[in-house]
């Protein structure tokens, strides 16, 4: 059997644990090693599974590895992606792809020049309601898309996520990119103009935890999105990914995590929503692996990552200047 040899670079982002699980459960994947400057963080993954540990990405990249999964702090995505691409490894990079237009375009260019694929980790594409919505929209069930309203609200993360040096931004960067990617995907268009608010309204932190992002797309569709870290600890779940799409012939609503049980337990002392729907990370990992094994293009590319992250970057500029920001055509 054809086996994909995968290395994992950094577990700074907790999604690495889920990607590890899905990679490790595939027969056609061999996890060759994990590189992380913090050995304690990855020991629960390396030791029980007999997987090699490397303290640097460079060491890991010297191994016979076909592809890498990068879950570092946002600020290191560009450096690690380019390093991996130059070692001829395919890359799946955690979102947001990068922290500036220039570095993202360079990541894409280096991967292209080295002949490796670059996938942006947008698992929401693999949610069954999202996939069904895409089919419905492409069939023309709701006619032409006119407008959209998105929500990706969450509880506030901790650690490097709220350190601008390492994260590059707060809620607006962290929680705009997923839904913007879905908006790009559904409209088949990309953003042309962004007007946004960004601020700190919910927590005592030195980074944005609240925002409202208005987007105009090249094809005339307009949209608004709330990326705030506005879920309190009493909220029954971590957050949401919701999208309402207004079409000329109907309205389509996606509530990604509404496949849930309502749980009332004295042990939690608050209501809880227990999601029982399909795991989107599994779909993402499967697409990465099978695409590479079959030599097909991955479903979510570096360009996709760039097209959504640049909206978040423009949102910060708009929030600073108080004016709409036009995106240069690419």
């Amino acid at each position: 059997m054809n086996v994909l040899k995968v290395g994992m670079i950094s577990f700074a982002h907790m999604h690495a644990a889920s990607y590890f699980h899905h990679l490790n459960s595939r027969e056609d994947v061999e996890i060759v090693g994990i590189a992380d400057e913090n050995q304690e963080r990855v020991r629960p993954f390396t030791e029980p599974h007999g997987i090699a540990y490397y303290s640097t990405a460079e060491e890991l990249l010297k191994q016979p590895v076909d592809a890498v999964v990068i879950c570092s702090e946002n600020s290191r995505h560009a450096e690690l992606t380019k390093l991996s691409a130059r070692a001829k490894k395919h890359v799946m990079c955690e979102k947001p792809l990068g922290l500036s237009e220039e570095e993202m375009l360079e990541m894409i260019e280096v991967c292209r020049a080295e002949g490796v694929q670059l996938m942006t980790a947008f698992p929401c594409r693999f949610l069954p309601p999202v996939m069904k919505a895409k089919e419905a929209i492409d069939r023309g069930d709701i006619g032409e898309i006119i407008a959209m309203k998105g929500y990706n609200r969450g509880t506030m993360p901790s650690g490097w996520f709220i350190d601008p040096e390492l994260s590059g931004g707060g809620a607006v960067l962290d929680h705009t990119v997923h839904v913007l990617d879905l908006m790009n995907y559904f409209t088949g268009s990309t953003a042309e103009e962004v007007y946004a608010h960004a601020g700190t309204l919910f927590h005592d932190v030195d980074i944005d935890d609240a925002g409202m992002v208005h987007v105009r797309f090249k094809n005339g569709v307009f949209a608004v999105h709330d990326p705030s870290w506005s879920r309190p600890s009493s909220y029954p779940t971590w957050g949401d990914v919701m999208l309402e799409i207004i079409g000329t012939k109907g309205v389509l609503n996606i509530d990604s995590f509404s496949q849930k049980n309502n749980v009332y337990s004295n042990k939690a002392n608050k209501a809880q929503w227990s999601y029982w729907g399909d795991d989107m990370d599994e779909g993402l990992v499967n697409n990465f692996v099978t695409s590479l094994l079959q030599g097909k293009p991955v479903a979510v590319t570096g360009e996709d990552g760039y097209m959504s992250a640049r909206v978040a970057l423009a949102a910060y500029e708009s929030a600073r200047t108080g004016a709409p920001v036009k995106l240069t055509s690419r």
Binding site: E193, L201, F202, F222, S228, S230, I246, P324
Partner: protein
């Protein structure tokens, strides 16, 4: 208190039903250009139907009149009533533009009559509960609100809603409820940004209000929605969240077996029955304000400011830029 109703459409009819329920109210004429409509409405509250407003005022000598006319007719009716020394309760939106609104406010002050605008959402028990809890600090310091109001395209007499020059469109007529409520929640508005899509079949708008205290509200309004009339809101604060979705309220839900071969003969609509509708509480409150001389929970000034925000939103959508509001002195 002798009360006249001007305009016997949907709102006038609602007012007539509620006037009949209020013990201290004596219905004193219903006026509408369409005689049959005026008669039907007058019957609901046991009074006389008129097609001429001057005749009604002369014969009935009302102390208060409720103006339930299309928006573009508010100004003339209110000015006339004020001149006759009659207190005015007028449907929202207050007027088509701010100058008219100010003129109406000034005329009422000049003639010593009270002037109320029916921003009825303030009297909906769910909105009242949410506002009270926010004001009690239950969600801590509020940060972001989402407010949504979707309905079918309203018809009205002669299709006046579809004429933007008469109704103002979905922001000025429908979303203004949520603009007013957002102001009640968060305070004065600093700037507004809006996007609108208008066509034969729909009028849809997204509006973001930025408040002077940094809080943000995003409102969506839709005429032409294919689903049931829907209102939703979420108010998020640093200590909690309040959410509401009208589609979740099904305190009474009846499902009927199909009768014989008549497929889909009945459309089951879940409902939220109550002792009184919010218009009843609104009318009762405004009449109490007249009797006691107290301030209403929503003033004509609030109504004018909500209109200013709505018009600024229209302007923003045209200019594709945020529009700053005049900060109140």
């Amino acid at each position: 208190m002798k009360l006249s109703i001007i305009g016997a459409g949907t709102m006038g009819t609602t007012c007539a039903r509620n006037a009949a329920k209020l013990a201290n109210v004596q219905a004193a004429g219903v006026c509408d250009l369409i005689k049959e409509r005026a008669e039907r409405c007058a019957e609901l509250c046991g009074t006389t139907a008129y097609t001429d407003i001057d005749e009604m005022i002369a014969k009935e000598q009302p102390e208060v009149a409720v103006v339930c006319l299309p928006t573009y007719l508010h100004k003339n009716a209110v000015l006339k009533l004020a001149e006759h020394g009659i207190h005015v309760i007028c449907e929202k939106p207050i007027a088509m533009n701010e100058d008219d609104a100010r003129e109406m406010q000034e005329a009422c002050v000049k003639h010593g009559v009270r002037f109320f605008i029916g921003h009825v959402v303030r009297f909906f028990p769910n909105y009242r509960d949410a506002l009270a809890r926010v004001r009690r600090g239950e969600i801590g310091e509020p940060g972001i609100a989402h407010l949504k109001r979707y309905s079918a395209y309203p018809t009205g007499y002669d299709g006046w809603y579809r004429d933007q020059g008469k109704s103002g469109g979905v922001i000025v007529d429908l979303m203004i409820h949520d603009i007013d409520f957002a102001r009640a929640l968060f305070g004065e508005v600093k700037s507004v940004y809006a996007s609108i899509n208008r066509s034969e079949s729909m009028d849809y708008a997204q509006v973001t209000m930025e408040f002077t205290n940094g809080r943000i509200a995003n409102l969506t309004g839709y005429w032409g929605y294919p689903g049931p009339f829907t209102t939703q809101y979420e108010i998020a604060g640093d200590q909690g969240i309040i959410q509401f979705d009208s589609n979740d309220v099904r305190s009474l839900d009846v499902k009927l077996q199909k009768q014989g071969t008549e497929a889909g003969a009945s459309v089951p609509v879940p409902s939220s029955p109550a002792n009184h509708d919010p218009y009843y509480y609104e009318l009762k409150h405004f009449l109490e304000c007249i009797t006691t001389g107290s301030e209403p929970i929503v003033t004509a000034e609030d109504a004018r400011k909500a209109l200013a925000v709505a018009l600024a939103a229209e302007q923003s959508a045209k200019l594709r830029k945020p529009v700053e509001l005049e900060v109140a002195p």
